[in-house]
Protein backbone atom coordinates (compact mmCIF):
# COMPACT_ATOMS: atom_id res chain seq x y z
CA UNK A 1 0.00 0.00 0.00
CA UNK A 2 1.31 3.43 -0.96
CA UNK A 3 -0.17 6.77 0.11
CA UNK A 4 -0.02 9.88 -2.06
CA UNK A 5 -0.85 13.35 -0.80
CA UNK A 6 -1.82 16.48 -2.67
CA UNK A 7 -2.17 19.96 -1.15
CA UNK A 8 -4.64 22.67 -1.99
CA UNK A 9 -4.94 26.16 -0.56
CA UNK A 10 -8.12 28.20 -0.51
CA UNK A 11 -9.29 31.35 1.23
CA UNK A 12 -12.75 31.73 2.70
CA UNK A 13 -14.77 33.70 5.24
CA UNK A 14 -16.94 32.39 8.06
CA UNK A 15 -18.32 33.06 11.54
CA UNK A 16 -19.88 30.83 14.16
CA UNK A 17 -23.50 31.27 15.17
CA UNK A 18 -26.01 28.82 16.58
CA UNK A 19 -29.56 30.20 16.17
CA UNK A 20 -30.68 28.15 19.19
CA UNK A 21 -28.25 30.05 21.44
CA UNK A 22 -28.86 33.53 22.84
CA UNK A 23 -26.54 36.34 21.68
CA UNK A 24 -24.71 36.08 24.99
CA UNK A 25 -24.33 32.28 24.67
CA UNK A 26 -23.01 32.62 21.12
CA UNK A 27 -20.39 35.08 22.35
CA UNK A 28 -19.45 32.91 25.32
CA UNK A 29 -19.18 29.63 23.35
CA UNK A 30 -17.66 30.95 20.13
CA UNK A 31 -15.67 33.99 21.37
CA UNK A 32 -14.18 36.11 18.59
CA UNK A 33 -15.47 33.63 15.99
CA UNK A 34 -19.04 34.78 16.78
CA UNK A 35 -18.47 38.24 15.22
CA UNK A 36 -21.41 38.39 12.76
CA UNK A 37 -19.39 40.36 10.22
CA UNK A 38 -17.27 37.25 9.71
CA UNK A 39 -13.53 36.82 9.33
CA UNK A 40 -11.36 34.72 7.04
CA UNK A 41 -8.58 32.18 6.79
CA UNK A 42 -6.12 30.81 4.28
CA UNK A 43 -7.03 27.16 4.56
CA UNK A 44 -4.50 24.49 3.64
CA UNK A 45 -5.95 21.12 2.68
CA UNK A 46 -3.95 17.88 2.45
CA UNK A 47 -5.70 14.96 0.79
CA UNK A 48 -4.19 11.49 0.99
CA UNK A 49 -5.19 8.58 -1.26
CA UNK A 50 -4.00 5.05 -0.49
CA UNK A 51 -3.66 2.15 -2.90
CA UNK A 52 -1.38 -0.18 -4.81
CA UNK A 53 0.51 1.44 -7.70
CA UNK A 54 -0.82 0.28 -11.08
CA UNK A 55 1.93 -1.94 -12.62
CA UNK A 56 1.40 -0.27 -16.03
CA UNK A 57 1.72 3.36 -14.88
CA UNK A 58 3.50 3.04 -11.51
CA UNK A 59 0.84 5.33 -10.05
CA UNK A 60 -1.75 4.92 -7.29
CA UNK A 61 -3.77 7.66 -8.94
CA UNK A 62 -2.60 10.21 -11.50
CA UNK A 63 -1.85 13.35 -9.46
CA UNK A 64 -3.19 15.42 -12.33
CA UNK A 65 -6.54 13.68 -11.89
CA UNK A 66 -6.44 14.30 -8.11
CA UNK A 67 -5.56 17.94 -8.79
CA UNK A 68 -8.56 18.28 -11.12
CA UNK A 69 -10.89 16.62 -8.58
CA UNK A 70 -9.69 18.99 -5.84
CA UNK A 71 -10.14 22.00 -8.08
CA UNK A 72 -13.65 21.00 -9.16
CA UNK A 73 -15.00 19.65 -5.88
CA UNK A 74 -13.26 21.88 -3.35
CA UNK A 75 -11.62 25.03 -4.77
CA UNK A 76 -14.55 25.89 -7.08
CA UNK A 77 -16.96 25.46 -4.14
CA UNK A 78 -15.00 27.10 -1.33
CA UNK A 79 -12.29 29.46 -2.62
CA UNK A 80 -13.13 33.12 -2.01
CA UNK A 81 -16.58 32.21 -0.68
CA UNK A 82 -18.40 32.91 2.57
CA UNK A 83 -18.89 29.49 4.13
CA UNK A 84 -22.04 30.53 6.06
CA UNK A 85 -23.90 31.78 2.98
CA UNK A 86 -22.47 30.27 -0.19
CA UNK A 87 -21.92 26.58 0.49
CA UNK A 88 -25.16 24.56 0.49
CA UNK A 89 -23.37 21.47 1.87
CA UNK A 90 -22.74 23.39 5.11
CA UNK A 91 -26.30 24.70 5.48
CA UNK A 92 -27.53 24.29 9.05
CA UNK A 93 -24.01 23.48 10.27
CA UNK A 94 -21.47 25.63 12.08
CA UNK A 95 -18.57 25.99 9.59
CA UNK A 96 -15.87 24.80 12.01
CA UNK A 97 -12.72 23.11 10.84
CA UNK A 98 -14.21 19.76 11.94
CA UNK A 99 -17.40 20.26 9.89
CA UNK A 100 -15.56 21.59 6.80
CA UNK A 101 -13.11 18.66 6.88
CA UNK A 102 -16.03 16.19 7.22
CA UNK A 103 -17.82 17.85 4.30
CA UNK A 104 -14.66 17.65 2.18
CA UNK A 105 -14.39 13.94 3.02
CA UNK A 106 -18.02 13.35 1.96
CA UNK A 107 -17.47 15.23 -1.30
CA UNK A 108 -14.21 13.52 -2.23
CA UNK A 109 -14.80 9.93 -1.17
CA UNK A 110 -17.17 9.00 -4.05
CA UNK A 111 -14.95 10.80 -6.59
CA UNK A 112 -11.78 8.83 -5.89
CA UNK A 113 -12.08 5.83 -8.20
CA UNK A 114 -8.49 4.63 -8.15
CA UNK A 115 -7.17 3.94 -4.67
CA UNK A 116 -9.17 4.92 -1.60
CA UNK A 117 -9.49 8.20 0.23
CA UNK A 118 -7.32 7.68 3.32
CA UNK A 119 -7.00 11.03 5.04
CA UNK A 120 -8.22 14.60 4.80
CA UNK A 121 -6.36 17.16 6.91
CA UNK A 122 -7.55 20.76 6.87
CA UNK A 123 -5.44 23.50 8.45
CA UNK A 124 -7.33 26.66 9.41
CA UNK A 125 -4.01 28.14 10.55
CA UNK A 126 -0.60 26.56 11.15
CA UNK A 127 -1.73 26.05 14.77
CA UNK A 128 -5.09 24.36 14.18
CA UNK A 129 -6.27 21.49 12.00
CA UNK A 130 -9.06 18.94 11.74
CA UNK A 131 -8.38 15.51 10.31
CA UNK A 132 -10.63 12.78 8.94
CA UNK A 133 -9.20 9.30 8.54
CA UNK A 134 -10.71 6.17 7.05
CA UNK A 135 -12.12 3.74 9.59
CA UNK A 136 -9.60 1.07 10.42
CA UNK A 137 -11.51 -2.20 10.11
CA UNK A 138 -8.98 -3.88 12.40
CA UNK A 139 -9.32 -1.25 15.17
CA UNK A 140 -11.11 -2.09 18.39
CA UNK A 141 -13.71 0.64 18.56
CA UNK A 142 -11.05 3.37 18.44
CA UNK A 143 -13.39 5.96 16.94
CA UNK A 144 -16.21 5.41 19.42
CA UNK A 145 -14.26 6.44 22.52
CA UNK A 146 -14.14 9.85 24.09
CA UNK A 147 -17.60 11.13 23.21
CA UNK A 148 -18.18 14.65 24.31
CA UNK A 149 -20.55 14.90 27.31
Amino acid sequence: MVRITRKLEFSAAHFYHNPNFSAEENRRVFGKCANPHGHGHNYVLEVTVAGEPDPETGMVLDLKELKDILQREIADRLDHRHLNYEVPELAGKIPTCENIASMIWQLLEPKIRQGKLDRVRLYESPELFAECVADDVSSNGHGAAGRRE
Binding site: Y16, N18, N20, F21, V29, F30, G31, K93, I94, P95, T96, C97, E98, N99, A101, S102, W105, E109, R121, P126, E127, L128, F129, A130, E131, C132, V133, A134, D135, H142, G143, A145, G146, R147, R148, E149
Partner: protein
Protein backbone atom coordinates in the same frame (compact mmCIF):
# COMPACT_ATOMS: atom_id res chain seq x y z
CA UNK B 1 -14.50 7.94 9.01
CA UNK B 2 -13.09 9.33 12.24
CA UNK B 3 -12.64 13.06 12.87
CA UNK B 4 -9.95 14.54 15.07
CA UNK B 5 -8.78 18.00 16.03
CA UNK B 6 -5.13 19.06 16.19
CA UNK B 7 -3.76 22.11 17.97
CA UNK B 8 -0.16 23.30 18.23
CA UNK B 9 1.46 25.04 21.21
CA UNK B 10 4.99 26.32 21.72
CA UNK B 11 7.37 26.66 24.61
CA UNK B 12 11.10 27.17 25.03
CA UNK B 13 13.06 25.16 27.59
CA UNK B 14 16.51 23.81 28.31
CA UNK B 15 17.64 20.31 29.16
CA UNK B 16 20.66 18.09 29.47
CA UNK B 17 20.72 14.42 28.56
CA UNK B 18 22.66 12.69 31.30
CA UNK B 19 22.19 9.38 33.10
CA UNK B 20 23.74 9.33 36.56
CA UNK B 21 24.06 5.54 36.45
CA UNK B 22 26.57 5.83 33.61
CA UNK B 23 30.17 7.04 33.70
CA UNK B 24 31.13 10.47 32.32
CA UNK B 25 32.64 8.74 29.27
CA UNK B 26 29.58 6.61 28.64
CA UNK B 27 27.31 9.66 28.94
CA UNK B 28 29.41 11.58 26.40
CA UNK B 29 29.43 8.64 24.02
CA UNK B 30 25.71 8.01 24.35
CA UNK B 31 24.35 11.55 24.35
CA UNK B 32 27.09 13.46 22.49
CA UNK B 33 26.55 17.23 22.42
CA UNK B 34 23.32 16.82 24.40
CA UNK B 35 25.44 15.81 27.41
CA UNK B 36 27.14 19.22 27.59
CA UNK B 37 27.19 19.94 31.34
CA UNK B 38 25.41 23.29 31.47
CA UNK B 39 22.48 22.20 29.33
CA UNK B 40 21.13 23.64 26.10
CA UNK B 41 17.69 24.67 24.86
CA UNK B 42 15.04 24.21 22.20
CA UNK B 43 11.89 25.87 20.94
CA UNK B 44 9.51 22.97 21.37
CA UNK B 45 6.27 22.68 19.40
CA UNK B 46 3.65 20.42 20.96
CA UNK B 47 0.89 19.12 18.68
CA UNK B 48 -2.08 17.82 20.66
CA UNK B 49 -4.68 15.71 18.81
CA UNK B 50 -8.12 14.89 20.21
CA UNK B 51 -10.87 12.62 18.90
CA UNK B 52 -14.52 12.42 19.72
CA UNK B 53 -17.98 13.18 18.40
CA UNK B 54 -18.54 16.53 16.72
CA UNK B 55 -21.18 18.29 18.87
CA UNK B 56 -23.96 19.39 16.47
CA UNK B 57 -24.66 22.51 18.59
CA UNK B 58 -21.12 23.85 18.22
CA UNK B 59 -19.66 21.92 15.28
CA UNK B 60 -16.71 21.12 17.52
CA UNK B 61 -14.92 18.11 18.99
CA UNK B 62 -13.57 20.41 21.68
CA UNK B 63 -13.89 24.13 22.20
CA UNK B 64 -10.52 25.88 22.05
CA UNK B 65 -11.87 28.02 24.88
CA UNK B 66 -11.64 24.86 27.03
CA UNK B 67 -8.60 23.22 25.43
CA UNK B 68 -6.23 26.21 25.32
CA UNK B 69 -6.35 27.09 29.04
CA UNK B 70 -6.09 23.37 29.92
CA UNK B 71 -2.90 22.95 27.86
CA UNK B 72 -1.54 26.38 28.77
CA UNK B 73 -1.80 25.73 32.51
CA UNK B 74 -0.64 22.11 32.52
CA UNK B 75 2.08 22.26 29.89
CA UNK B 76 3.01 25.67 28.48
CA UNK B 77 3.19 27.58 31.77
CA UNK B 78 4.75 24.59 33.51
CA UNK B 79 7.55 24.10 30.95
CA UNK B 80 8.13 27.47 29.28
CA UNK B 81 11.51 29.03 30.10
CA UNK B 82 12.39 26.23 32.51
CA UNK B 83 15.33 23.88 32.90
CA UNK B 84 13.56 20.54 32.53
CA UNK B 85 16.15 18.55 34.53
CA UNK B 86 15.87 20.72 37.65
CA UNK B 87 12.46 22.32 37.56
CA UNK B 88 10.15 19.52 36.47
CA UNK B 89 9.80 16.96 39.27
CA UNK B 90 9.24 14.05 36.86
CA UNK B 91 12.69 14.59 35.35
CA UNK B 92 14.52 14.32 38.64
CA UNK B 93 14.60 10.57 38.03
CA UNK B 94 14.12 10.32 34.24
CA UNK B 95 16.32 11.67 31.45
CA UNK B 96 14.42 14.56 29.75
CA UNK B 97 14.70 13.17 26.24
CA UNK B 98 11.87 14.29 23.99
CA UNK B 99 10.53 10.71 24.09
CA UNK B 100 10.11 11.06 27.86
CA UNK B 101 8.80 14.60 27.45
CA UNK B 102 6.10 13.36 25.04
CA UNK B 103 5.02 10.74 27.57
CA UNK B 104 4.98 13.28 30.41
CA UNK B 105 2.92 15.76 28.39
CA UNK B 106 0.49 13.00 27.39
CA UNK B 107 0.11 12.09 31.09
CA UNK B 108 -0.62 15.71 31.99
CA UNK B 109 -3.25 16.12 29.26
CA UNK B 110 -4.91 12.70 29.35
CA UNK B 111 -7.65 13.85 31.75
CA UNK B 112 -9.01 16.52 29.37
CA UNK B 113 -12.71 16.04 30.04
CA UNK B 114 -14.32 17.00 26.73
CA UNK B 115 -12.69 14.65 24.20
CA UNK B 116 -10.24 11.76 24.07
CA UNK B 117 -6.54 12.58 23.82
CA UNK B 118 -5.35 10.64 20.78
CA UNK B 119 -1.72 11.67 20.49
CA UNK B 120 0.96 14.12 21.52
CA UNK B 121 3.62 14.93 18.93
CA UNK B 122 6.57 17.12 19.85
CA UNK B 123 8.89 18.84 17.40
CA UNK B 124 12.15 19.40 19.23
CA UNK B 125 13.64 21.07 16.15
CA UNK B 126 12.38 21.36 12.59
CA UNK B 127 14.18 18.06 11.91
CA UNK B 128 13.16 15.90 14.88
CA UNK B 129 9.71 14.94 16.06
CA UNK B 130 8.48 12.45 18.66
CA UNK B 131 4.97 11.07 19.03
CA UNK B 132 3.22 9.24 21.88
CA UNK B 133 -0.25 7.73 21.70
CA UNK B 134 -0.57 6.46 25.24
CA UNK B 135 0.77 2.95 24.73
Amino acid sequence: MKVSLGRRYRFAASHRLHNEKLSADENRRLYGKCNSPYGHGHNYTVEVTLTGAVDPATGMIANLGDLDPFVESRVVEAFDHKYLNEEIPEFQCAVPTTENLAREIFRRLESFPRARLERVRIEETSKNSFEYRGN
